[in-house]
Subunit: 299 residues, 2 copies
Amino acid sequence: MSIIVLGTVALDSVKTPFGRRKELLGGSAAHFSMAARLFTKVNLIAIVGSDFPRQHVTFLRDKGLNLNSLIVGDGKTFRWEGQYQGDLNSALTLNTQLGVLSVFKPEVSSEQREIENIFLANVDPDIQEHLLTKMRSPKLVGLDSMNYWINTKRKELIKLLKRIDIYVANDQEARSLSGENNLIKAAKQLCSLGPKMVLIKKGEHGVLFYNKKFIFSLPAYPVEKVIDPTGAGDTFAGGFMGFLAGTRQVNSLAIKKALAYGTVAASFNVEDFGLLRTSRLTRSDLERRLAKFKNCFSF
Amino acid sequence: MSIIVLGTVALDSVKTPFGRRKELLGGSAAHFSMAARLFTKVNLIAIVGSDFPRQHVTFLRDKGLNLNSLIVGDGKTFRWEGQYQGDLNSALTLNTQLGVLSVFKPEVSSEQREIENIFLANVDPDIQEHLLTKMRSPKLVGLDSMNYWINTKRKELIKLLKRIDIYVANDQEARSLSGENNLIKAAKQLCSLGPKMVLIKKGEHGVLFYNKKFIFSLPAYPVEKVIDPTGAGDTFAGGFMGFLAGTRQVNSLAIKKALAYGTVAASFNVEDFGLLRTSRLTRSDLERRLAKFKNCFSF
């Protein structure tokens, strides 16, 4: 079954200990799609500006994405500039230019409206809500956000949480929104706000999954050379949601497998700048690394 | 086979969000022993002052520890005072009184000298070296240290690493001693200094194990109510080394099991102040939680 991803398509400029890159194709929806496309048909809902390079559109289309609802707005493409230092666990944002993102009203075609798997990647909660309301019969809805919205649109975000199935957050966000320092307590508290499942991404420390039936925790795949972690969380979500969208039954085994696929997909993402590695990724790359990954924690 | 643990026996005063306790029995060797005793006969090598409460000696003896080399020195027992806030991941040291620890010269009986499994818990590297030199035929030697010694006795510590099998560090220490931010690189670099194996403890994020043959990584056991994390790392080491000392062959499966036992032992330690929980711990408590723990990451 196919999936809708709402999010950003951006031009990212990054500086890491391994170099500097300017205006790479990026954004939450783009990173998500590179992993999700390996499991299911991905419908990308985003906006770019009139300055968005044509070759990027071709590139995304060649990856098999449905771009019918990729709007070209009148203005500039969303740009993000950031820097990573030390352990590369957190980005320092140097500059953000919203451009057309500030007037984004997502649209979906009548066919897309029927899609049951939806991922609301990090954008303004009002935009996320706007899209969700358009959908006819949401079955599995995931949502990611960020500290900026937790601080500035807390009410809107909390209202939206009642309508989703899976809340995806990093550890800082989970602590900030729940008011709990302990991550298990934080996950529990977030679950009580509406979502059936909470997934806390911890970067190099792996992932924690919570629902009322079980807690599941995986380490990260050990990557020695982290070149650029931009989009790793979105790639994780793409592998996770993509796998679930492609599976018939969302039971505990499917969730565990989905978390492992997400982890492995994210490990490829950090091995090169932007989408360079994940855009070349194949399902068999994923399977091979998944087998290795299992050996890292199974006995 | 029995094990020697060299380390501290201390009087710990702690303040955590769950309360305040004064002069609890603690110290690296004491915490280590509470876990290791469930697998093997533990010989505790440490010093206390003439003010050390008699009932603590009785308590330790009742736990089955061999106290033949627990020296009572002329002076005060080592005292540590610390505080935990927020996520309880790191202690803020408020006060340290070395007392008799500053004149500690460890002794071992002629029987103890034959013991092949040795854990050098966190004390001055010169003291660790002093004990190691006394041992007749060390077979499996583990060593823990801390940032203070990494900064002030780096040379001595690095020299000592050539003589040990397993270096146990937390993530900060591993980064600090190796000069590498990436933990896989850090583990590799530390291995090149001598130890066959490197074990990096990451608190609530679990553990990373590295040797030339494999990388193994486990999440922490999910504990919702962390009361007092003091000694969790030593308890981890006690479960890990204790299991290995009790096993015949230190192969990859034994190492993986040992890491899981260490993780589970540490999870009990944080559930109450000081040694309160681990001193009541039984092997069947460990086994029950180990089975639950496996469900947290196996699929």
